[in-house]
């Protein structure tokens, strides 16, 4: 005991001495380090592994390069990713053939993997083959860009690479900018291939073989990842390397603690605070709070269109007019986001073919009662309303308000809070009648939303809607090259949506990026994570 | 006259309890000369132990000396500081306690404990203290003292522990030794050895001794002078022989009469109006009719426990209706096991039991509550405090077997019957509504008996029925039992360690040792003329008032 005590004193003395002597040195490194905390965690270094988290995507964006990446644009004065501007990353440039069926990539000659070997078209071929062949996440994603088979990828020469498409697909190029089609050092990866694992999934999960801006220093799954800068990387804007020499990505499960950390300046940036914390930090004005409505994400109140009583369109309409949208938006999100309700459509028709757009629904209990009566439920009914535990901070107040309001038209709600895994299972099995969930589209275009979230017997079709007309229009729109026709299709789809009211898009919550005032360059990205390469310090 | 070693003047000790202050000692005065041996006798609650603890200032925190003086070598003990008190403890006066095993630190080797006591008063090396501790162990005649030095209390018998306690007490040569019930709970043969040792050591070292005991025989045998206490007051003091031969005070008289001796009769135990037998003429014992089966016929009873120990090796006995048989033996002899098997509360491993010509031994104890013989065989338990359900009133206790075994329902008939039982055992009916903790030990014993006889059984097993009672209460209870037996023609199986009681109560006696029968026969013959060495040893170890004191030194 006494021994420990004296050592402790010694320790204290030593720390004091060091603080005096080595203080500035440490501060120097601190300025060159970016510390990022999140409530979730990084669980794999290869974003393709089933079960990868969003934080894993963010890390892979820094450790690997893709052929191309998204540019950025300003939206309401805030930087967001731009689906329509695709710039080269490993590709110095690319050409699209006039018929839109061939894309040729000209690779950078100076690009090297982190082990120093040059990046060649063979590496690109192996990597993309892997993305569409192996049983990994990339496969399903690339499908949405008509990239389905290894035969579509061709090596022209060491620095030239060609992709062939069966149909001209607007989403082919953007798909190559998402997190999955990473370019892997194929020689390195092949060294770890086994018979059961021809694509080195096991090895790549815990190791990287990329050419990205950052190199993994330590990786503790579920705890922290520390990365150091790849000084040879020059794919930043203006051919520059990444700004920060060191990158720390750490898991801090308590949201309130994350708020404390960033407020105290111990952490540089955090994006998953509770709305209330973001609001209060913004009010204090010490930090930068960049609040971007997640324009590729939607929070829904979903109803199972195949299940009574929600199989009746009037019931769905009744619900749409019985929710206190303003109160919900205020209480759950503290007003941080873009509401998708309470619009006025002057002629009763959708003013735009974009999705999502605000719909002309608002709290109107008389109307709701009328619809309910028309549906044959004049006295209402009982049902459950579910949300998942991970979403409780916003869903819980929202559900309470919903319950209270629906009670006024005779609908009795039993609120169910489900652990995340149970929620997703029950959604997939189409067992939930009435719930709230969110969706996100990496490549937000109207047909993409409708095809993925309103068709088919699959998990993401929350409302289980099966409307042949909607499906047909959405499919058609996919390959529609004419912008005017596409807009018309979009308006048609929006009109069907409003008429059928399969589910109620509530709002697009804001991504509240809270960061030290010295941080610059933050851009809202498609994967709703920070692209660490964007950031620098004043 | 020499100056007294200890002088107590008008001592009062008060305990604060939840019912307010209670005076446990009320004006005791006595003196003790150096080297003298004094006995303090009395029944529970007489304040004898409290007096002893007051002298050593080892009273419970709740107890306070409220008045009076205690002078020890002319120093006022009541006003001593804690430091000087500590100095005095052990070196000037020491104490020996009841329950020797509990009085020793269970997790410290006995050698170390004795050495602790030595080192508390003398600045010598630990080595030297250990040497002295070894010498002391020799002095208290512990065999193999070198080996025993590192033994723990649980590895020693009760008697050995008490010797260790004595060794600790005398380690710093105190001039006064107070022994508080030093042999209660020990077997009679052990008791004799320990007391002899204590007396010899005191005599050798010239220590004055105060022996606090409830056992008049013990006091008579080992003390020259005896004081009698009753309810905190000293009622009589005299030379031991004078006191017991010719008691002066009525209480002393009662006490002496109630203490069973080798020649006592049940009728003589209680004097005055409480004497129950005076009113009831002793009916002649029924003589068994020839040809009828014996009431109880037990053959080759064996009991082995799950862990392999054999509690009873082989036991056979026959008993006629109305007969009373004593079962004596020291602890571990198997007498309680035997009584429980006969009662069908415990299954035997082997052997047969026939009751009234019918086999009951084959009925498992688990199911015996349904057997018709259940009401015929009843039992009275040892400790009255533990034998009554704390949540039952006296009435409930007595009514319980009537409802279960005699099929009586709650109602006037039951109330009538319970009152009857209560009055038969001399329990005032206004006590029937009380709970056990509101009753005295004697009253509880009566309820236990009333419960056992409520269904008019034919065989009553008595498991040390008076062992936990004061002698005067014991006397009354014994008389009561004897009367009930005569009135109802009950048969008794009387289990006891107290030879004098068994001799008085039982026609025949069986001596058990280590699970086997040593000797059996007609009680008086057996005790007056034991056939085996063991029985003889037992009989001789019993301290009797008539004996002359062996240690009258001083």
């Amino acid at each position: 005991m006494r021994l420990t005590y004296s050592k402790q004193m010694l320790g204290a003395a030593a720390v004091l001495a060091l603080l005096v002597a080595a203080g500035p040195v440490r501060a120097q490194t601190r300025a060159e380090t970016l510390r990022y905390v999140t409530g979730a965690s990084v669980n794999t270094l290869d974003p393709n592994i089933p079960g990868s988290t969003r934080e894993a995507f963010a890390v892979s964006l820094s450790t690997y390069d893709r052929l191309v990446s998204f540019g950025r644009k300003q939206l309401n004065g805030k930087w967001v990713f731009d689906l329509d501007s695709i710039r080269g990353e490993l590709a110095e440039s690319y050409d699209v053939s006039p018929d839109g069926l061939k894309i040729t990539f000209h690779l950078r000659k100076d690009a090297k993997f982190q082990d120093g070997t040059p990046v060649t078209a063979d590496d690109v071929k192996w990597s993309l083959d892997r993305a569409v062949t192996a049983k990994i996440l990339g496969k399903a994603q690339l499908l949405t860009g008509s990239l389905t088979d290894a035969s579509q990828f061709k090596v022209i020469d060491a620095a030239t690479f060609e992709v062939t498409l069966p149909k001209p697909d607007k989403l082919a190029l953007p798909n190559l900018a998402t997190v999955y089609p990473i370019i892997i050092n194929s020689k390195l990866a092949k060294a770890h291939v086994t018979e059961e694992d021809p694509w080195a999934q096991a090895w790549l999960k815990e190791n990287t073989a990329g050419s990205g801006a950052y190199i993994i220093e330590t990786f503790k799954p579920g705890e922290q990842v520390i990365l150091k800068r790849n000084d040879a990387w020059n794919r930043g804007p203006g051919g520059k390397q990444a700004f920060f020499k060191r990158l720390i990505v750490q898991s801090v499960p308590e949201a309130a603690t994350r708020a404390n950390l960033v407020e105290k300046g111990d952490v540089d940036i955090v994006i998953d605070l509770q709305a209330s914390d973001a609001q209060s930090l913004e009010a204090k004005g010490k930090l930068q709070v960049i609040s971007t409505p997640q324009y590729n994400a939607i929070t829904f109140v979903s109803m199972n269109n195949q299940m009574a009583p929600f199989d009746k369109v009037d019931v769905r309409r009744a619900i749409a007019y019985a929710l206190p949208y303003d109160d919900m938006f205020k209480a759950a999100l503290f007003g941080r986001g873009a509401p998708l309700t309470s619009a006025t459509w002057s002629d009763g028709k959708p003013p735009s073919g974009a999705f999502p757009i605000p719909q002309p629904i608002k709290l109107d209990l008389d109307k709701a009662k009328a619809y309910l009566k028309a549906a044959g439920y004049p006295d209402g009914f009982s049902t459950t309303f579910s949300f998942n535990v991970g979403q409780a901070a916003t869903a819980e107040p929202m559900a309470a308000l919903l319950k209270e309001s629906l009670a006024k038209i005779g609908i009795k709600i039993d609120i169910q809070k489900l652990p995340d895994a149970q929620m997703s299972t029950q959604i997939t099995e189409k067992k939930l009648p009435f719930f709230t969930e969110g969706v996100v589209a990496w490549l937000p275009s109207t047909d993409y939303f409708y095809r993925n979230f309103y068709t088919g017997d699959q998990r993401w079709n929350y409302s289980s809607i099966n409307n042949p007309e909607l499906t047909a229009i959405a499919q058609e729109a996919r390959f529609e090259a004419d912008k005017v026709k596409y807009e018309a299709d979009g308006k048609l789809l929006n009109a069907i949506h409003f008429d059928q009211m399969p589910q109620i898009p509530l709002w697009q919550p804001s991504q509240d990026a809270v960061m030290a005032s010295s941080i610059e360059g933050y851009t809202y990205q498609f994967h709703r994570q920070v692209d660490y390469r964007d950031l620098s310090r004043k | 006259m020499t100056k007294p070693l200890l002088q107590i003047d008008n001592l009062h000790v008060t305990f604060s309890t939840r019912r307010g202050p209670v005076e446990a000692v009320r004006g005791v005065s006595l003196s003790l000369a150096p080297g003298e041996t004094l006995g303090i006798v009395g029944e529970s609650g007489s304040g004898k132990s409290v007096t002893g603890f007051a002298v050593t200032r080892l009273l419970d925190p709740a107890g306070k000396i409220s008045a009076g003086r205690i002078l020890f070598r002319d120093r006022e003990i009541t006003k001593m500081s804690n430091a000087s008190l500590r100095e005095m403890h052990g070196s000037a006066m020491a104490m020996i306690f009841q329950n020797p095993r509990g009085a020793l630190n269970p997790i410290r080797a006995i050698g170390a404990q004795i050495a602790d006591a030595i080192l508390a008063h003398r600045k010598i090396s630990a080595e030297a203290a250990r040497g002295e501790a070894l010498d002391l162990l020799r002095a208290v005649q512990i065999r193999d003292p070198e080996k025993r030095m590192s033994a723990y209390p649980h590895e020693l018998s009760g008697g050995m522990c008490q010797r260790v306690m004595i060794a600790m007490a005398i380690s710093s040569n105190p001039s006064l030794l107070i022994a508080d019930e030093p042999t209660t709970g020990l077997d009679v043969t052990t008791q004799k050895v320990v007391m002899d040792l204590l007396a010899n050591i005191a005599a050798e070292r010239g220590m004055a001794t105060i022996l606090i005991t409830h056992d008049l025989g013990l006091a008579a045998r080992y003390c020259r002078r005896v004081v009698v206490m009753e309810q905190g007051k000293l009622v009589e003091q005299a030379e031991a022989l004078t006191l017991f031969r010719a008691p002066n005070h009525p209480y002393t008289k009662r006490l002496v009469a109630a203490s069973p001796t080798a020649t006592s009769r049940v009728e003589d135990l209680v004097t005055g109006e409480e004497n129950l037998l005076a009113a009831v003429p002793a009916a002649p014992l029924p003589t068994p009719v020839h040809g009828t089966p014996p009431l109880l016929d037990v053959k080759n009873l064996v009991k082995r426990f799950d862990d392999g120990t054999v509690a009873l090796k082989s036991f056979s006995m026959v008993m006629a209706a109305g007969e009373s048989v004593g079962l004596v033996g020291e602890s571990g002899s198997g007498k309680s096991t035997t009584s429980r098997m006969i009662c069908r509360l415990l299954d035997q491993s082997e052997g047969t039991i026939n009751f009234n010509g019918e086999s009951i031994g084959h009925l498992p104890a688990r199911d015996f509550h349904r057997a018709p013989q259940r009401r015929d065989i009843q039992i009275v338990f040892q400790d009255p405090n533990e034998s009554l359900n704390p949540r039952f009133t006296a009435f409930d206790c007595i009514a319980h077997p009537l409802m279960r075994l005699a099929g009586m329902r709650n109602g006037d008939a039951l109330r009538q019957r319970v009152r009857e039982c209560a009055s038969r055992v001399g329990l005032p009916s206004d006590l029937l509504e009380r709970f056990p903790h509101q009753l005295s030990g004697g009253q509880k014993a009566r309820i236990g008996i009333a419960r056992a006889i409520a269904c008019r059984p034919r065989l009553l097993v008595l498991d040390e029925p008076t062992a936990a009672l004061d002698v005067s209460v014991q006397a009354v209870v014994l008389q009561l039992l004897d009367r009930l037996r005569r009135e109802d023609g009950l048969a008794f199986l009387f289990v006891s360690h107290d030879l004098n009681v068994v001799r008085m109560m039982c026609q025949r006696t069986i001596v058990l040792r280590n699970g086997a029968i040593v000797e059996e026969g007609e009680s008086h013959a057996l005790f007056d003329n034991p056939q085996t060495a063991y029985t003889r040893e037992l009989v001789e170890a019993v301290p009797n008032i008539e004996l002359t004191p062996v240690a009258a030194a001083g």
């Binding site: 309130a256 209060s280 109160d327 309470a400 489900l418 | 259940r374 533990e386 077997p401 056992a452």
Partner: protein
Amino acid sequence: MSSATFQHAAFILRGNPITGIAAVGAALLTVLAIFGLWIVPYDPIASDVAHALMPPSAAHWAGTDQLGRDVFSRIIVAAQLDLAIALSAVGISFVLGAVIGALCGYSGGRLDRAVGRFVDVLMAFPLFVLAMAMVAALGNRVENIVIATAIINLPFYIRFARAEVNVRRNLGWVEAARASGESHVSVVLRFLLPNVLPAMVVQMSLNLGWAIINAAGLSFIGLGVKAPTPEWGIMVAEGARFISTGKWWLVAFPGLALMLAVLCFNLLGDGLRDILDPRQRT
């Protein structure tokens, strides 16, 4: 309660006024639990988003929450549910544990060994995680929270009852009951159990507070009672997330209520132990 016990209780209370205060507190709590709904100034689940997150004021003594509900009213009304959860959870484990434990303690042998094994298995579980898993598996309804809490408590009651019965099974009055014609089962249930109960009531009282805390912990990780039902644990758990934004009343008042309730039960249990513990009797 017999007069002597009453006297003894009075004696203990004189020497230990804290127990008295705790008893008064527990009584008050019970009154709140029964009549809470009628005495609160606001409807505990009616929202008023316009007045959300207001600090304590004359109108709202304990402020309002995220939905503008009156925190004070919610705290008062929550007493009922919290007491109900605690009492029923502890009650279930108490009854089951007492009966099973008593039977085992009395009979020994094969039953005892089998149940002992089962208890070992339960004890070897990390208990809070077991409760979490059960609530997650069964769904976070009040009944399931109660069941989970009861099950993780069960081994302690079984052990306790077993030990208490075991020391008494050879006492004179138990054998006397047998000699008076009672079967083993009836001896256990009608004779031994009632005598063991007082000691277990102490355990129960100490456990009540623990059950409330346990439910609060479940709420914190999202496995608590469903919204919008007022319950202290979930209020504290939600309020705790507002500490960093300075909305202290959201955690302080429900926390205080929870603390006081648990404190009352614990002190009461402590006091009851003193009253029932024969060693304390002089």
